[in-house]
Amino acid sequence: MSASPVRKTLVKSLFGVVGMFVFAVFIMPPLYDVFCEITGIGGKTGGRYQVTDAGIDTTRTVKVQFIATNNGAMPWDFSPSVHEVIVHPGAPTEVAFYAKNRTGRDMVAQAIPSLTPFNAAEYFHKTECFCFNQQPLEAGKEADMPLVFIVDKDLPKSVKTITLSYTLFDVTGRTTKTTASNNSNYKEPVALLD
């Protein structure tokens, strides 16, 4: 039977251990997200924006560029309809992204935005974005997906170019994730592995 001070040390240590585990799994990820939102790190641009009528700054313009990437084996055609626009801060602007499902099967995609420079991320507001929802496209179909955004009038004067990147992920039928040899997402009946 261990001495009582020893047991107290044991119990306190175990609290510490469990506490740090809870911190790592349940507090660090949300803390990270909040930190990213506040500072714009990683270029995450936040959710749907509620429009306020703050007026348009006609004294300056900002160049907004668009780039598009397919992740992994994502086989869609995916590209911005224009590669850049010149906008006034405060003015709502609409652009479209073209997507086509070139395969013979119905698929669902998720677009994830990332913006640079980071200090502009909190000044870039999307009122309408195809990235808010998963995008289903049937086999062979194409779509023009809208993005409506406003560059905030308070954008630091030093920022003259903003680059918005979308990465398209295949989330068809996604409930479990896959490791390299588990290709359960692939529906065609072909023996690919010898």
């Binding site: 055609d77 590669h83 086999a139 030093s158 170019t161 068809t172 692939y186």
Partner: protein
Amino acid sequence: MSRRANMLFALVLAPVLALISSGSALAEEAQRWAVNMPKGVTPVSNTIYDIHMITFWICVVIGVLVFGVMFYSMFAHRKSRGAVAANFHENTTAEIVWTVIPALILVVMAIPATTALLDVYDTAEAEMDVKITGYQWKWQYEYLGEDVAYMSELATPESEIYNTAPKSQYYLQEVSAPLVIPAKTKVRFLITAKDVIHSWWVPDLGVKKDAIPGFVTESWAYVEEPGIYRGECAELCGKGHAFMPIVVNVLEKEEYNAWLGEKKAEVAAIRELAKKTFTMEELMVKGKEAYDRSCASCHMGNGEGIPGVFPGLKEGSAAVGPVATHLDVVVNGVAGTAMQAFGGQLSEVDLAAIITYERNAWGNDTGDVVQPIDILKFKQGQ
């Protein structure tokens, strides 16, 4: 035996020979036994080199002083020399001095380090933008606003890697298509990745930045001098990590504009070519070349793959099954595996050639011929 002779040569004779040989050979030897970072060809690379050397020399001076005291003590205070141990074991003044002085040295170092970092981060007001995407295991370069995009993959043949052919001068540092940028132009790089984390590193440009899937990062370079600069992928990304080098070809502005014009014309020409019909022989030759370049790293030159990891392309595979399925696999990839969608990476001509080659090489002999127009039609969903 010759290996030991090689070692002896390397250890002793090479530096000696380097010293007595001609200037250009000296440069070659010097490149071989390099001991330091290159100064590079951009203002940033030079700034980095300078701060590296400042830090290095500060460390050397401190090391000489500190080890000097220690070596003196190791010599003078030996018991065998009759040294008798003193008894002191604290001195608060000394402790304060050797805490404050290092702290001051660090503050002094931090100032140029801060300005150097501001330089590294200064991507604003670039004259052109290049999007760089890291793939397993190659790079894609896209010139924003110019409608020019292409893959850049390792050009060193497998035979050199597996020692059945002698290694060329730029072994593992040559690519199918280098990144081409103009000199004396501020170029911004927008970097992302298609699958896992990669990192784009060109020492002479003073650029290294992680390529993270789903996110974009940026860097920049202003290259003073035209030339060819070689770099490497710098983040473990799977089996091809050491086999996806970077080559940057920096041209004078007029030459760059000419190159860009040619590249745009090439894009149009390939589209034209896609309407042409090729013979089986033409497709097999082109197919083998394209297969060896873009497919053999996983499926191997003999089409046997790696059991359990990358499928073989012989009996029972898509290469001898229905053509439509084979097309789907190559053009659209296989979700959840390492098989990428090559429809977005290779031209219709290359794709048709590769598929034809796979269907007829290694004894597969299906007799099937796939034309570029078939690829176009497949992509358009007919």
